[in-house]
Structures are given as structure tokens and as C-alpha cells.
């Protein structure tokens, strides 16, 4: 019994090393001199070069891509929550049995390859001037984030007992007031979680900005992708850029850890 316990911990430690090491290596690389970064055998002791982070930040288009992503992410969150919350609410509370259908369509949308939207949208955007704009990017991201937000928020609304809302209705609240004054405060953690999921999917999304943006609406993922062709002499700057791009994601994920499974299985119809 004791031996098997030991084996379990040994395996967990080994797996943790495997999963954590590449990230640790990325952080080390981001602090090395170019010669140290690609040295074989690796250099383990070195003086941290914080200037790599300054270099990454001032690399061609990096900081403006960071700023673009913050703006596009925030805009996408606002649109998705503003339209998704009332829809999620109706879906949770309406007597009609459309829930199965909505669940299946959310899953169906997830099954479609991004390209099926992006190529026609490219044509449309080029024609109406939305190509490479913040607005165009915010609208395009709704394809992923709006159904996602509706589905997630529906789940949170269902967690609020309907009796509480009925009491407010008896007191003369309209449905709109019920939503804004009773339900919204109660599901605020859920709204925050949906907002963060939305923001993270914009932050990490590559295909949408790659297809529909160029420079003015270039996001952080595209800026990272532009590092692809860099030689090993630029590894430290690449690594520093990657770390900068990842920090906001880790902060957001910290908040939504509890809801991670709900987010990963959006569209699954239970019961």
C-alpha cells in the first residue's frame, strides 16, 4: 500500500516535470543572451537579460498588436454579453423546449472549420470596408463567442431559483427589471466567467485575425506568429514575446478555473 502511494506521487512528479518544463525553459530562454539561448550543452547559470522584454515589446508591431487585442477583446466581450445575456436568460426561463435545439446548434457551430466562415467573410469584408478594422474583428469573433456566451449564461441563469424572480414580478417588476435588478447581480460571477472566456478566446485566437486583419487590426497571436521565421539568434526575444502574450491569459484563467469544464464542453446536452 505504501509502495503504491509512493509510485503515484513519483508518477505525478514526473508528469508535472514533463508538463511544466517547457514553460520553465521558455522563461529561461527569455532571459538569456542570444549565444546562451542556443548553446549546447545549455547554459544553466546566467545573468538575466531583462532587456529582452523591452526588445520584444518594441519589436515591429508587437506593442500595437497587444493594444489592438485589448481593444478587440473588450469590444467582443461587450457585444457578446450584451446580446448573449438576454438570450441566455430567455433560453433558461422560456417554457418552449428549444434548449435541445440550441445545444445541438452550438455544438454544430463548433464542428464547422473556421475557414467556412472566414473565406466568405473575407470577400464580404473586402467589399464593405470592414477588412483589417477593429469593428470587423469584433463582429467576426461573435461567430465563436456569442453562441458560447449564450450557452454558458443560460447555465448560470438556470442556477437561480425561479421563485426569487416571481416574487419580484408580484411586486411589479417587468421582465427587464427582473433581469437587471434580481438575476444579474445573482449571476455576476457567471457573467464575469463568460466575459473572461470570451476575452481569452480573442486573446488566443489566431485564424480570425490572420484571415481578416493585416496591420491595423493585427492581434497578439499574429504578432507571435510573425516570430516563426526568426533565427536562433532571436530566440530570447521570441521567448520574451511569448511570455508577454501568455501572462494575461494565465491571469484570466486563474479566475475561471472553477468553470473550466463548463467552458470546455460548451454545447453538450445533459439530461
Amino acid at each position: 500500500m505504501r509502495a503504491s502511494r509512493l509510485g503515484v506521487y513519483a508518477s505525478l512528479i514526473l508528469l508535472s516535470l514533463l508538463f511544466a518544463f517547457p514553460v520553465a525553459w521558455l522563461i529561461w530562454t527569455s532571459l538569456k543572451l542570444p549565444v546562451q539561448a542556443s548553446a549546447i550543452p545549455p547554459v544553466w547559470v546566467f545573468e538575466p537579460q531583462w532587456s529582452n522584454y523591452v526588445d520584444a515589446w518594441s519589436d515591429r508591431g508587437f506593442s500595437s498588436a497587444f493594444f489592438n487585442t485589448v481593444v478587440i477583446g473588450t469590444g467582443t466581450v461587450i457585444v457578446s454579453i450584451a446580446f448573449g445575456l438576454p438570450m441566455g436568460y430567455s433560453l433558461a426561463r422560456s417554457p418552449i423546449r428549444g434548449k435541445q435545439f440550441i445545444g445541438v446548434s452550438v455544438l454544430f457551430l463548433r464542428m464547422l472549420p473556421e475557414m467556412i466562415f472566414l473565406i466568405p467573410l473575407y470577400g464580404i469584408y473586402r467589399s464593405i470596408g470592414l477588412f483589417d478594422t477593429w469593428t470587423g474583428m469584433i463582429l467576426a469573433f461573435q461567430i465563436i463567442t456569442l453562441p458560447f456566451a449564450v450557452w454558458l449564461l443560460r447555465g448560470f441563469v438556470e442556477g437561480v431559483p425561479v421563485d426569487i424572480e416571481d416574487v419580484a414580478r408580484v411586486d411589479g417588476c417587468t421582465d427587464f427589471q427582473v433581469l437587471t435588478r434580481i438575476t444579474m447581480p445573482l449571476i455576476l460571477p457567471g457573467i464575469v466567467a463568460a466575459a473572461m472566456f470570451t476575452f481569452v478566446s480573442v486573446w488566443g485566437g489566431l485564424l480570425f485575425p490572420l484571415a481578416l486583419g493585416y496591420t491595423r487590426a493585427e492581434t497578439i497571436s499574429v504578432a507571435i506568429a510573425n516570430f516563426r521565421g526568426y533565427s536562433n539568434f532571436q530566440w530570447p526575444v521570441m521567448a520574451a514575446g511569448a511570455v508577454i502574450a501568455t501572462i494575461p491569459q494565465i491571469l484570466f484563467f486563474g479566475f475561471i478555473q472553477r468553470h473550466l469544464i463548463a467552458g470546455l464542453t460548451v454545447g453538450s446536452v445533459k439530461g
Binding site: F19, P22, G84, P86, L109, E114, I116, L146, L210, S221
Partner: protein
């Protein structure tokens, strides 16, 4: 307790009625979804029946060609190569990630102390975006300067061209993806394990079953629905793979790792600007994904009935 609707004013005008709010809450969202999701989708189906070639300068010129794009793609060997690569990658990654994820979940479920700590580390790569994972592994797998080959050289294994050997490239990307996304499976299976009652396993233990027998005969059947959920969601995302491959190999060497979304991208907006043709490829690929998911769903329904 009175029914909810009892107290509502019944003879009010439409404005302010519950039906009004029902529309107010759903119609704007449906309009947005219709304009941004349904319209591009239907427009795309139409575009796929047209010759629409931005590269030749006649950007606004769409010529209806019926099913010609679809007939052309049947003979497009590069498209079938990309599809084959995609399914090879998906199948291999699914097997590796399911086994690794289930193992991680079982290990996490069997410890009391430190479970939350190890859980955070094992799912940590999920917080990294695909393109960051791609450029990071591109550095780690560098044949002469990468850390992975350095480690292997310590045990006497010579330099391996992970990403430029046509036989090794997809297995290498499978390992990258396993590092990146196994956490999804770990989390879903762990939730399944934690929802199981302890008694059946306790009874089996008292009856003298060993750990392996308990796993195969008691735990595994009980978590089967969770295994299917994890596998289906993972399969959907694996089939749509793009950044992990494009960021590490760009589809090379010689298209040995080119996946469907990458080929469609290259034919369309990422290169040749054959908008009509590449849309027909996207529609065909979507059909392949749907068929795969329907088959997996069918298998998952059949399982528990035995």
C-alpha cells in the same frame, strides 16, 4: 405556491407584456447571430458554386459554375493529402491524449494531499495559446540547438530531425498537441471520477479485486460517458487543427504535415485567393467533420446499451 404567471397583469398592451420581453431579449441576439453566422454560412455555400478569383484582379466578378468546384476537388490530390494528414493526426493524438489524460485523472483522483497543486500543473499548458505552444516547441525541437535532442544525446541518441523528417513530423506534432491539450481530457475524466460513489469500488476491494481489476470492471464502465464526452470534444477540435502545425512546420516537409484547414487557407485567403474553390473545400471538409462526429456519437450511444 401560486403558478408564476398567475400574478401577471393579463390585459396590458403588448408593450410590457411577457411576450414583448421575450422578443426584446431574443430578437436582437438572433439578428446578430443571423447576420454574422447564418449569412456568411449561406453566402459561403453560394460562393462555393462560383468561380470567384481575387488574384486575377476581377475581385467583384463572380461567375456561377454550378458544382464544378466540387468536381475539381475530387481530383485535387493535395486536398486529399491534407485530409489524410488531418485524420492521421487526429486519430493518433486522440489515442495518446485519451490514455495520458485518463492516467493523469486517475493519479490525481487517487491522492489527497497535493491534488490541487498537481492538477494545476498538469492542466497548465491549456492556458497557453496554440501559436505560443507552436513557436516554443519549434525552438525545443530544433535538430541541432534544441533542448530535446540535447536530452536525447545524453542517453546516446543521435540528432533527430523531428519537424523535417516526413515520417516523424506528424508524430512529433502529436506529441506537441498531447503536451498542449491533454489537460482537457484530464479535467473531464477527473470530474467523472469525482462524481462516482465510493461503495462499488469498496465492495470490489473487500471481495479481493486488485487495483487493475477494480479499474477495468468497476471504474471504467462507470466513467465511460465521460470518456466519450472527452473524446468527441477533443476530436472536433483536433480535426480543425491549424496553428500547432502551421506555426511549427508550415505544412512541410513537402506537405507531409499539411492539414486540411491549412490547405484551405493557402488556396483561399492565405495565398492563391481562389475564394470560390477554397470555400468548396471548406464545405467538403465540414461535411467530413460532421460525419466523423455523427459516427462517434452513434458509437457512444451504442456503448452503454450492451
Amino acid at each position: 405556491m401560486q403558478p408564476a404567471t398567475f400574478a401577471l397583469p393579463s390585459r396590458r398592451s403588448f408593450f410590457g407584456s411577457r411576450a414583448f420581453y421575450g422578443y426584446l431579449f431574443t430578437v436582437p441576439g438572433l439578428l446578430v447571430a443571423g447576420a454574422l453566422i447564418l449569412y456568411p454560412l449561406l453566402f459561403g455555400l453560394y460562393v462555393s458554386l462560383n468561380d470567384w478569383n481575387w488574384a486575377s484582379g476581377q475581385s467583384a466578378q463572380m461567375t456561377f459554375v454550378g458544382l464544378r468546384n466540387y468536381i475539381d476537388l475530387v481530383h485535387d490530390e493535395l486536398f486529399w493529402n491534407a485530409l489524410l494528414n488531418t485524420f492521421y493526426f487526429t486519430g493518433a493524438a486522440l489515442v495518446v491524449e485519451m490514455m495520458l489524460g485518463t492516467a493523469c485523472a486517475l493519479l490525481l483522483n487517487s491522492v489527497a494531499a497535493g491534488s490541487a497543486f498537481f492538477r494545476t500543473i498538469l492542466i497548465f499548458p491549456l492556458m497557453i495559446s496554440d501559436i505560443v505552444a507552436a513557436i516554443m516547441w519549434k525552438m525545443l525541437l530544433d535538430p541541432s540547438l534544441g533542448f530535446v535532442n540535447y536530452l536525447l544525446s545524453l542517453v546516446g541518441i543521435g540528432s533527430i530531425n523531428w519537424l523535417s523528417d516526413s515520417h516523424l513530423v506528424i508524430p512529433a506534432i502529436v506529441l506537441i498537441d498531447a503536451w498542449w491539450q491533454t489537460g482537457v481530457i484530464t479535467l473531464i475524466i477527473l470530474a467523472g471520477l469525482q462524481s462516482l460513489p465510493e461503495e462499488p469500488r469498496e465492495i470490489a476491494r473487500v471481495d479481493g479485486a486488485n487495483a487493475w481489476q477494480i479499474f477495468v470492471h468497476v471504474t471504467l464502465p462507470a466513467i465511460t460517458p465521460f470518456l466519450w464526452t472527452a473524446a468527441i470534444f477533443r476530436a472536433i477540435d483536433l480535426l480543425r487543427v491549424f496553428a500547432i502545425v502551421w506555426g511549427t512546420t508550415g505544412g512541410g516537409p513537402a506537405r507531409a504535415s499539411q492539414v486540411a484547414q491549412h490547405y484551405i487557407y493557402a488556396q483561399g485567403i492565405g495565398g492563391y485567393l481562389h475564394i470560390g474553390y477554397s470555400t468548396s473545400l471548406a464545405v467538403t471538409f465540414a461535411a467530413f467533420i460532421c460525419i466523423t462526429v455523427v459516427i462517434l456519437l452513434g458509437l457512444s450511444r451504442k456503448g452503454p446499451a450492451e
